[in-house]
């Protein structure tokens, strides 16, 4: 039997053959008998009072089964949509949100009515016949303007637009600045981004009135939390609600929180007694799926002339949109991570969440950490430039080197080797060579720039103690269940849920290795709340392996221990006298006396168990991590800016990342490719733009919202260092968001470096040709 070592092997993604041959199972693929289709009538205004809604014409259109408005849903749904405390627990104004508006609409795209019809075309046609009379109100567009007392309010009944306002103090910031020999300050813009997963959202619900059971098929990263929220709102016991997310075509954070349609579709299904489905259009996706980022930072850094960093003071103004995103306050962690990989005497971060008349913001790949990293890495470069020091050298001078390292806010970085990744990255990119080419290029007027981003992130959420408060009660741990069946195949259930991360492969590698069986014998199941452990916590925050993988490993160890006891009984030796290798228990000193784990599994369902041992071979385990995990790395980007057109060409991109021990290098590289592409894309292409006066969305199609393709993303040179996490048995850290967290800073640092001979110190995102051309024009005139 050729099992050998699977953990660490470049195993091909076993989900791929199914997905790339068109056998994926997405919401649109499911066609229950009697299915009805829902279309949503949405507000065309960012802010308006609803005067009247006339539904008669739509209701009598062909094939229409129902036209429903807020009052119809009030009888079905209780309470309001959830807002968790997360990193900004002290909320000020939290507008209540019901899934469908009744009197006032507060963002363009907010639902006002739904039409349910026999097919999707009829539903869309009839939706156009719903006549809504609006009285437009002033739209609050710019979050900074919205903070000013007397600003128009995003909700007419609101006291003001302030969702939260908190300051995190990490040390004596005044004292740090008092010692400063240089200070630099900057204003850093984090544009709004639309997550644009390949599969837009979709909800299908079926309610069976006789036994009052509800099944929801949903494109979700987080099925168990959705079950919790929807069962509560609909007044159905959690045990009678089943949420199923089969294949999910990308989420990037946008499929964590509940959405209005997640409530409206099941409620409509209960009203009509028929299965109802809604599939998001691309237009709806860009307009109404929760956006990411949308923040503006002001920051000031203090340092000594020798490059010693002293203090960092920042304010994050976060554009909440019209309502708090369920997990939106998570993004305040940008403040807590703004110190990055460096030793600072003090860091102080103030976060202000501000309501505007736009779709809510919520976690998007990295959520707070890309923003914190971007800010930190920009400020460190600014200090280096100010004192005329090489930015890599300044970084080295200030790296944290002793681990565990407690940052200014008491967060404890588990392990790290920041010099190691930076050294390797500089060598791979040929740092000194590029510095020389840059100097030569400048003689000829060429604008070449080199940007470093030495990053660290916090991920792997849990631990329970820190997160129970953050979610409002439910601690983020993770659960797994393994069932070793009599004939030797193994079903493993996890509470995380992949959207492209390859869990089917990596998690099976862990189970197969731990139990000593071939991977093919492991069936990995996730995304169905009717299966496996009673709760699961979803996939986001790079938590699946470091928390969920550990739960799975733990359950596998429970099974192995039991199997060892049973094997000892079968071989009539003490379990301690057995070794376990490649799936076989052998008696020490007598290798011919042995039992395979499959033989033991069969015996576990048989007639001769040891005294006191229960039948079966299955285990459910929860893993509560003792700390977060802290991946890190160094990215270096080399760009050239076309002085005449502002076009940016990326000459080279090197990333040396460290996520501890690697289960599957190919999957790690895939995660990095996608993540880095998203960060480069934020730096150069994507932006959700609104008209500053009207508040109307300007980038509603994929011709205006610029998602790059492989043509726009440069070849990436990847490498790694390996610094295991001491906090989990496999020594792993997360890697799902790392690329995104690191890369926008590397690109923008490189562009800023390229433009520095012109006296330009900072470039905002996206660094579009038009933006750069204007800056160059101004600098040259």
């Amino acid at each position: 039997m050729a099992v050998s070592q699977l953990i660490g092997a470049r195993v091909q993604r076993r989900e791929d053959p199914r997905l790339i041959t068109g056998h994926g199972r997405f919401i649109e693929d499911r066609l229950p008998v009697g299915l009805l289709h829902m279309a949503v009538v949405r507000s065309p205004h960012p802010h308006a009072r609803i005067l009247s809604i006339a539904t008669e014409a739509a209701a009598s259109a062909p094939g229409v089964r129902a036209v429903l408005v807020a009052k119809d849903f009030h009888a079905q749904l209780s309470g309001t949509m959830p807002v968790t405390p997360a990193f900004a627990p002290e909320k000020k104004y939290v507008p209540e949100r019901f899934p469908i508006a009744s009197d006032e609409v507060c963002f363009q795209g907010e639902p006002v009515a739904v039409v349910v019809a026999d097919d999707r075309y009829l539903a869309a046609d009839a939706a156009e016949l719903v006549v809504v009379e609006y009285d437009p109100l002033p739209a609050v567009v710019d979050p900074e303007a919205a903070m000013v007392p007397g600003s128009p309010r995003a909700h007419v009944e609101g006291p003001d637009n302030i969702g939260w306002d908190m300051t995190f103090d990490g040390g004596d910031i005044e004292a740090a600045f008092a010692r400063a020999e240089v200070t630099v300050s900057e204003r850093i813009w984090q544009q709004r981004l639309a997550p644009t997963p390949m599969e837009p959202r979709g909800v299908l619900a079926e309610y069976s009135p006789y036994d009052e059971r509800l099944t929801i098929w949903l494109s979700s990263q987080n099925p168990h939390f959705i079950r919790l929220f929807i069962s509560g709102a609909m007044g159905i016991p959690e045990s009678r609600v089943r949420v199923v997310a089969e294949d999910v075509g990308g989420g990037f954070g946008s499929k964590i929180s509940p959405y209005p349609e997640d409530y409206l579709v099941p409620a409509a299904a209960r009203i009509l007694g028929r299965p109802v489905r809604w599939i998001e259009t691309r237009t709806e996706s860009v307009q109404t799926s929760y956006h990411g980022r949308g923040q503006v930072f002001t920051a000031e850094a203090a340092a000594l002339r020798d490059g010693t960093l002293l203090g960092l003071r920042l304010t994050q103004v976060l554009d909440l949109g019209a309502y708090h995103g369920t997990f939106g306050a998570f993004q305040a962690c940008a403040c807590l991570m703004a110190g990055g990989v460096y030793r600072w005497a003090a860091v102080q971060g103030r976060t202000i969440g501000v309501l505007t008349n736009k779709v809510p913001t919520d976690p998007y790949r990295g959520a707070g950490r890309p923003e914190g990293t971007h800010l930190c890495e920009r400020m460190v470069d600014r200090v280096a430039q100010e004192i005329g020091m090489d930015p890599a050298e300044l970084r080295r001078k200030n790296f944290a080197r002793e681990f565990p390292f407690s940052n200014n806010f008491g967060l404890v970085y588990d392990s790290g080797n920041y010099d190691g990744s930076l050294d390797k990255a500089m060598e791979l990119v040929d740092y000194s060579g590029w510095r020389q080419r840059q100097a030569e290029g400048r003689q000829q007027g060429r604008l070449i720039g080199i940007g470093c981003s030495t990053w660290v992130e916090i991920c792997g959420f849990g631990p329970s103690e820190a997160t129970a408060g953050a979610t409002g009660g439910i601690a983020l741990v993770e659960a797994a269940q393994i069932r070793f069946l009599p004939s030797g195949s193994v079903a493993a259930y996890v509470g995380t849920h992949a959207q492209g991360q390859g869990h089917d492969t990596t998690f099976s590698q862990i189970v197969a290795d731990t139990l000593g069986i071939p991977m093919e014998k492991v069936e990995l199941r996730h995304g169905d709340t009717a299966e496996g452990p009673s709760f699961g916590y979803g996939t986001y925050g790079s938590r699946s392996l470091a928390v969920g993988g550990m739960a799975l490993h733990k359950a596998a160890m429970v099974i192995r221990d039991k199997a060892q006891r049973l094997a000892g009984h079968m071989l009539e030796v003490s379990p301690d006298d057995l070794t376990f290798e490649q799936g076989t228990f052998s008696v020490k000193g007598d290798p011919s006396a042995r039992k395979t784990i499959e033989e033991v599994a069969l015996a576990a369902y048989g007639g001769k168990l040891p005294e006191g041992m229960e039948h079966g071979l299955e285990a459910t385990s929860y893993f509560d991590p003792p700390n977060w995990v802290w991946p890190f790395g160094a990215h270096i980007c080399v760009v050239e800016v076309d002085r005449e057109t502002g076009a940016v060409q990326v000459h080279k991109y090197v990333a040396v990342d460290d996520c501890g021990n690697v289960i599957n290098p190919m999957i790690v590289e895939g995660q990095l490719h996608g993540g880095i592409a998203q960060g480069i894309s934020q730096a150069l292409y994507e932006e959700v733009a609104y008209d500053q006066d009207s508040g109307l969305l300007l980038t509603g199609t994929m011709t205006d919202y610029l998602v790059p393709t492989m043509n726009e993303i440069p070849a990436l040179t990847l490498d790694r260092t390996v610094t295991p996490s001491p906090t989990n048995p496999l020594g792993v850290k997360g890697i799902g968001e790392a690329g995104t967290i690191a890369s926008s800073a590397a690109v923008i640092n490189a562009i800023s470096d390229a433009l520095s001979p012109l006296g330009i110190h900072h470039v905002d995102m996206p660094a579009s040709p038009d933006r750069l051309w204007k800056m160059i024009q101004e600098a040259e005139s």
Partner: protein
């Protein structure tokens, strides 16, 4: 993203298509590659009540050279233009432009007749047609390019008139088309084409106004002996481009000049 309901029929000849259009009335439209029409229908910006499909008409898909002109059938796809040896030998500029239209899907479906009839401000072929004095051949007449493109999405075509061919002069001299855009498959933010023809230069500019323009001022300056750099300064003469999320009006004017200079310098 869900189009409104429409009737559909397939035409078997040009005459049949014209007939069907007349019978179906003003709500009817023809569909060629569908690469501009379908997106507009999905956004419900266009809601034709009837589509007459041109894809079943034989003999509208060709590249021919005759009497000093390159004749291209209206249903010839971008991808065909990219691959055509005949085009590369007789009008290499157009073959190069075709290679940079949209993405592979768009090039496989989209047609030259559709580009002309649609008259998007950022369409690439109208610029080439205009600068080379091409003629648009319809089912009933020949229309010089300079009279054909009237305004954004507006041409000289009657509602029931079909483009059947586009005729360009054989042009084998030095040429270059520079298309400035953010992603390779995007429409031009601005593009500039230059072609050496006879003893002069032809220069055209894409997306610096509601229609393509021919840069007469640049052509004249070159004729009077100006260097490419000097002549290129005239590229923005008389232009009044839009601002949008991709570029401001001033940036488009600037790009018109920079791209003109570079195209002239790089023309081969």
């Amino acid at each position: 993203m869900i189009p409104a309901a429409f009737e559909y029929s397939r035409a078997t000849s040009v005459a049949d298509a014209v007939n069907q259009l007349r019978t179906a009335g003003p709500e009817a439209k023809v569909i060629a590659g569908g690469q501009s029409l379908l997106p507009m229908m999905r956004l419900r910006l266009a809601q034709p009540g009837h589509l007459v499909d041109l894809n079943g008409i034989p003999d509208l898909d060709y590249v021919r050279v005759k009497d000093g002109s390159v004749q291209i059938g209206a249903m010839t796809r971008h991808a065909t233009l990219v691959r055509s040896e005949l085009l590369r030998a007789n009008l290499p500029l157009l073959a190069e432009v075709a290679k940079e239209v949209g993405d592979p899907q768009v090039r496989t479906r989209g047609t030259i007749g559709g580009v002309m009839a649609h008259a998007d401000a950022a369409g690439d072929y109208p610029t080439v047609a205009l600068m080379l004095d091409a003629e648009i051949v319809t089912d009933r007449r020949r229309i010089p390019a300079r009279d054909f493109f009237q305004h954004l999405f507006t041409t000289a075509l009657e509602p029931d008139e079909l483009v059947v061919e586009v005729d360009f002069p054989v042009s084998t001299g030095a040429h270059r088309y520079l298309k400035f855009r953010r992603r390779v498959f995007d429409w031009a933010i601005v593009a500039v084409g230059v072609q050496r023809l006879g003893d002069g230069w032809r220069v055209g500019i894409t997306h610096a106004g509601p229609t393509a323009v021919r840069a007469h001022a640049v052509e004249d300056a070159l004729r009077s002996g100006a260097t490419p750099a000097e002549a290129a300064e005239r590229a923005s003469d008389g232009l009044n481009p839009n601002s949008d999320v991709h570029a401001s009006s001033e940036f488009r004017l600037h790009l018109a000049q920079v791209l003109t200079r570079r195209a002239l310098e790089q023309a081969a």
